[in-house]
Symmetry: C2
Subunit: 232 residues, 2 copies
DNA sequence: TTTGATTTAAATCTAAAGATTGAGAAAATC
DNA sequence: GATTTTCTCAATCTTTAGATTTAAATCAAA
């Protein structure tokens, strides 16, 4: 099948020059591939993507240097539809998670067989994602962990639960940037009543002003609206 | 290997009674499994989890009824370490994504072979996650899509880009709930200077008060801090 | 039916926030 | 070297926010 298609341009990025040569030799054996270029620098790699428009970039990621992740992100930003396959020596759940998060189409280990690598490349070239079963499992460890942390916040000791339904309505309008007059108008009550509610909200949430109240609401899953925690 | 372990208790939840019997017969052939119970109701299923403490729950999910997803979430909340394997007739990316998000350990289709189902169960019982390659690919479609929507927000026309570095510092402290005095103290400048900065921030962000400024900042990816969009 | 919580409201006061103008010093840019 | 931003600060003023007290009407529950 592959023999009848146009050759797929591949760009190799790996800061280990020897490793780079090894992969290149391995892939040149495949008649359907065309090695568009190789480089040991992530930044040069981005420029080569702009220049040669490869279908796929095989990129090494080292745990100490985070350049690889950022490079993937920048390649994605170009909007050229370039697919990135991560070839890493680490099966760290966090690294796998972040690589997929920034847009990688696959993640394989350097210890895998050449046949597996070719399979991964073909899967990705055909528009699919590819993550080996073992790495997929590690990915989900991290994926679900990030949501568990969220729901732990809105467990108990959430001061929002002490609010009455009317106070929730007032807080909702506060989180939309309304002042006293705006809230009074929207709830058809007097401004002084709104002040009473707002003061009660402050006491219950143990804050001093509306900005702190709004921040508390947003950070504690107000109105079942889930917000991701601040992440690097 | 499995023959020497204690039998694993399995709970089956499927609103199709016939299907339920079929799976039950299939799994009773496996000597290492012990069917702890079967039910066609998600709510009864949760109670059976509390009662029999199965190692694994095999749960059907229908697209129209969202009860299944909520049931998974509630089983997770129990904190009994019960693993949930979704057995669904749909390979919808959104459904797969949400099932894994709420805590499922695996997701397989009803069309799969019995050997594959047994393999999935064993993988999950051994502490891994299991998602077949084809479904894994669909999962990542949705996963990466959700992040692409985020970065589109902070594209252009982001008024935050007009802020000077000092104004960014002030805004950062505003988003932490500080008042004028607090900001002045932390930046070692006078309170009047802070007022000047804040007023400039208001003009640049086209808002009227600090709460609106803070909300604008949080909703437009202030300081590269990524926040998920409001999701149901 | 009475108790307790909620919602509504007013009056008063202090403190903080916000608008505006003007202006000097430093730093970056041209 | 001249120009423009940026950062700093002050003074003044108006408005809004927030604290506190008191209290009436409503409503659900004991």
């Amino acid at each position: 099948m592959r023999e009848f298609k146009r050759k797929s341009r591949i760009l190799l990025v790996d800061d280990n020059a020897e490793h780079l040569r090894g992969i290149k030799e391995l892939l040149t054996l495949e008649t359907s591939y065309d090695i568009a270029g190789t480089t040991t620098s992530a930044n040069i790699g981005i420029n080569l993507v702009k220049k040669y428009r490869p279908e796929i970039v095989i990129m090494d990621i080292n745990l100490p240097e985070k350049d690889g992740l950022q490079a993937i992100q920048e390649i994605e930003k170009l909007g050229l539809g370039t697919k990135v396959l991560v070839l890493s020596g680490y099966d760290d759940p966090d690294l796998i998670y972040r690589a997929m998060k920034v847009g990688a189409k696959g993640y394989v280990l350097k210890t895998m067989s050449s046949a597996q690598l070719v399979y991964a490349i073909d899967e990705i070239l055909s528009g699919k994602y590819y993550l080996p079963s073992a790495l997929s499992s590690k990915f989900f460890e991290h994926f679900q962990q990030s949501f568990r942390e969220e729901s732990e916040v809105s467990d108990e000791e959430n001061l929002l639960t002490y609010l009455t339904s009317r106070e929730e309505e007032v807080l909702e309008l506060l989180t939309q940037g309304n002042n006293y007059k705006g809230i009074a108008g929207k709830l058809f009550i007097s401004e002084t009543t709104v002040k009473t509610h707002v003061n009660n909200i402050f006491q219950k949430l143990q804050v001093n002003d509306r900005t702190q109240a709004v921040l508390y609401a947003l950070n504690n899953g107000f109105g079942k609206k889930i917000r991701a925690k601040i992440s690097a």
